[in-house]
């Protein structure tokens, strides 16, 4: 009787949660911001999002083929990288840059997937956020297209051909040039996915509710930006005096705090480590925004913190249950 029993070691049951399920939740959470981006920036935004996702998926497939590895497209992580990359790019004007609209997402996705992710071993092994690496590569290769000057106005703004982002106006003119409401609903200059704070917060809360991410990184990140900006303001630091709480709704902060700094592979796994990650990102972001040459510091702050993650994880290993302080034995000479 039944001699063919399966034998494996415990546990014999698993939760229903899967990698692709987790990643699908991230895609769902990004839908509101993507939709708003397309509403504000029109067809070009839609094209760039589509090209970027497609390119990321194709690069991943191609790499897996060449490296003779099983295709990992099914886990949805390449889709997320492509989407995040597009949301971090400005919508270019179709008439002026008909080629760049296609080339930039393809090049960016290639760098993100092949160099930043797969060369390091694929999903979970990459120590920097692939989408941000792709973006940084694009900034270096296409400085004029990726920064302020090329930004399109939203479909709901007055005539202007290009439009300075609120943070760029602050850097140059000492005022955001946009109201809090504009920041919340996203009617400001910026990259495709970063302008609508409400859409990003809704998506972020969904991820926290679904336990895909914890509150630690986003809350600490945004909180640190707020508090540190006020500290500098109250100290009368030149670049900070005219800033106020609306600061947190402008630029890439919401997108970065909820979706980029929380990237699993490039953020700490320990609870304390996640707090440090959030704090560090916030701190560096404010430093760059207030003192740096760039108006915006989110992507560089996250990339910088990414590099510290292995160290942070090592330092913040949780205290085990039943921990006893090791007794220091004094050396007797």
């Amino acid at each position: 009787m039944n001699d063919n029993l399966m034998v494996s070691s415990s546990p014999h049951i698993r939760s229903k949660e899967t990698v692709s399920g987790v990643m699908r939740d991230v895609v769902i959470a990004l839908v509101p911001a993507t939709v708003m981006g397309i509403v504000y920036f029109g067809v070009t935004a839609a094209i760039m999002v589509a090209v970027s996702i497609l390119a990321a998926v194709l690069w991943e497939t191609l790499y897996n083929k060449i490296a003779k590895k099983p295709n990992t497209v099914k886990d949805f992580s390449a889709v997320i990288t492509g989407l995040l990359l597009a949301l971090n790019m400005p919508a270019l004007s179709f008439s002026e840059h008909p080629i760049a609209i296609f080339v930039m997402p393809i090049v960016g996705a290639g760098f993100a997937i092949v160099i930043a992710k797969q060369i390091f071993g694929g999903l979970g092994q990459n120590f920097i956020n692939p989408a941000l690496a792709g973006r940084a590569f694009l900034v270096a290769s296409y400085p004029t297209l990726m920064t302020g000057a090329a930004f399109k106005a939203t479909n709901f703004m007055a005539e202007a051909e290009t439009y300075a982002t609120p943070l760029a106006s602050m850097k140059e003119g000492g005022s955001y040039g946009a109201t809090l409401v504009q920041g919340l609903i996203g009617n400001t200059g910026g990259t495709i996915g970063e302008t609508c704070a409400i859409a990003l917060i809704v998506g972020g809360l969904y991820l926290i509710y679904k336990k895909v991410i914890s509150w630690r990184i986003p809350v600490l990140y945004i909180g640190t930006v707020l508090v540190f900006t006020y500290i500098l303001k109250l100290c009368g630091v030149e670049g900070a005096v005219s800033r106020d709480y609306t600061e947190i709704f402008f630029g890439g902060l919401m997108l970065g705090a909820f979706f980029m700094a929380t990237d699993y592979a490039s953020s700490p796994v320990t609870p304390l480590g996640q707090l440090i990650m959030g704090f560090g990102c916030g701190f560096i972001t404010v430093l760059i925004r207030v003192f740096g040459g760039y108006p915006e510091g989110v992507s560089y702050s996250i990339l910088l913190m990414n590099l510290c993650v292995p160290l942070i994880d090592r330092w913040t290993t949780p205290k085990k249950f039943g921990y006893v302080k090791p007794v220091k034995v004094k050396e007797v000479k």
Binding site: E17, T18, T270, G322
Partner: protein, 443 residues
């Protein structure tokens, strides 16, 4: 109600208890002519030594193997009949062990000395411990630690708390639940007997709040005793793990590498406490135990009282067999139980359940790369980093494994359960932990 639970980590696996939690305990007796197999190792420690010979007639309740070493426990016949052989036989754990084989004559003729000495109140502490030892009682939850040793820790550890582990946090298992409903008085009495060994100590019956009827039944009975109370716990796995349970009930943290007694606590399983009552107040040795027979392959899932030594195949046949062919049979619960190679083995003292799964529910998803989501870190009740330990184990790095506190793993499986990448975390960690401990012992 103020619900207590343990400090860190933990998971909520699907309970799967609906099939059996309302089924009263049914008694299943071995048939005439059935061969009963009594392995000499049904506990932690040295094997017992047979004191009968091939051809001897033995009576129900007669001692057939003696505990000669300190860490050991005697074994009794659970039927009357003839000793057919003494030879190595397969055990549920998959290993071979020297066993006494008795053919059941179907008469169930009792050893006349049974039930003579029920007046446990008149006994001294030493005599009670001796009774427990001679009744062959060991931890029936699965560990098999001899109970008389657990109840008698070194005098430096002053015991002030005895906890009956009625959390039953493993999915599917319901036998403790049924005992609390059907034998509440005797369970409380068992705890009372244990408390007399440690004057001044308080007794607690710790029950998860997914068993409200058991909480009610036991609270009712406990009103008779001023030193016993029920503690309701917030349902969470692995609540029934000793260290976690002690924290939930007393707020004390058993230090790494230490035993519960170091924090003044003794924890015993429900069926074990019941066996103590049977040994002391009824003067009968350990001959039977209660098992949950369940899983989606089973025709009549239920809670059954079986004779230790009874063949599991015979048992399955007697209770109606399978509805569908099982692909995996687990001795114990799904989180920590052991998958069995064969069911042609006897029930032993530590057999707590038989969980029979169909192919559909036994199949496990394939493993993929760790995505560093940190969920295993959040689930580990010991505050370890399962993803790191998994890497250490796969790399075979014993020093790193020890430095990352791999030896503190309680083998609960929470990490594997939670992991979205379905990594075999607990599996590799537990196996490597065994290797590390073996190599340390050698040194």
């Amino acid at each position: 109600m103020n619900l207590k639970t343990f400090k860190i980590g933990g998971i909520h696996p699907p309970e799967g208890k609906e099939a059996t939690e309302k089924k009263p305990i049914e008694i299943i007796m071995p048939k005439e002519g059935a061969l009963m197999v009594y392995p000499m190792s049904q506990h932690i420690g040295a094997p017992a030594v047979p004191i009968v010979q091939k051809g001897d007639r033995v009576l129900l309740g007669q001692k057939i193997a003696e505990a000669e070493a300190f860490m050991c426990s005697p074994i009794h016949a659970s039927v009357s009949g003839t000793v057919k052989d003494i030879k190595p036989m397969l055990t549920p754990g998959g290993t071979m062990a020297q066993s006494v084989i008795v053919e059941n004559d179907g008469l169930f003729e009792e050893d006349p000395s049974l039930g003579k000495n029920k007046d446990w109140q008149k006994l001294s502490k030493e005599e009670i411990l001796d009774k427990i030892k001679n009744a062959g009682i060991v931890g029936l939850g699965g560990a098999g630690f001899p109970t008389h040793i657990k109840l008698n820790p070194p005098p430096t550890d002053k015991i002030d708390t005895i906890i009956v582990n009625a959390a039953e946090c493993e999915p599917y298992l319901t036998s403790d639940h049924r005992v609390m409903l059907e034998k509440s008085d005797r369970l409380a009495m068992g705890l009372k007997i244990m408390l007399t060994l440690h004057p001044g100590a308080k007794g607690y019956i710790a029950i998860e709040n997914n068993k409200p009827d058991a909480i009610e039944a036991m609270s009712e009975v406990c009103r008779k005793y001023d030193d016993i109370s029920v503690v309701a716990l917030l349902t969470k796995y692995p609540q029934g793990s000793e260290k976690q349970l002690i924290y939930a009930v007393t707020g004390r943290e058993v230090k790494s590498g230490k035993l519960p007694a170091s924090e003044g606590c003794i924890v015993d399983n429900v069926d074990t406490v019941l066996a103590v009552e049977r040994a002391c107040a009824q003067d009968r040795p350990l001959m039977r135990r209660i098992v949950t027979f369940t899983g989606d392959a089973v025709k009549n899932p239920g809670n059954y009282q079986v004779r230790i030594g009874m063949n599991i195949n015979d048992f399955i046949e007697q209770v109606g067999g399978f509805a569908e062919e099982p692909a995996k049979i687990i001795a114990g619960g799904p989180m920590m139980g052991k998958a069995m190679f064969s069911t042609d083995v006897p029930f032993v003292k530590t057999s707590s359940a038989l969980l029979c799964l169909t192919r559909k529910s036994a199949e496990l998803p394939p493993e993929s790369n760790c995505i560093r989501c940190g969920k295993c870190v959040g689930a580990c009740p010991m505050g370890l980093m399962p993803l790191t330990l998994n890497q250490d184990a796969l790399a075979g790095d014993m020093a790193a494994f020890e430095a990352h506190d791999g030896l503190d793993c309680i083998m609960c499986g929470s990490c594997s359960f939670t992991c979205p990448a379905k990594r075999h975390l607990a599996q590799t960690i537990i196996a490597f932990r065994g290797e590390v401990m073996a190599s340390k012992r050698k040194k």
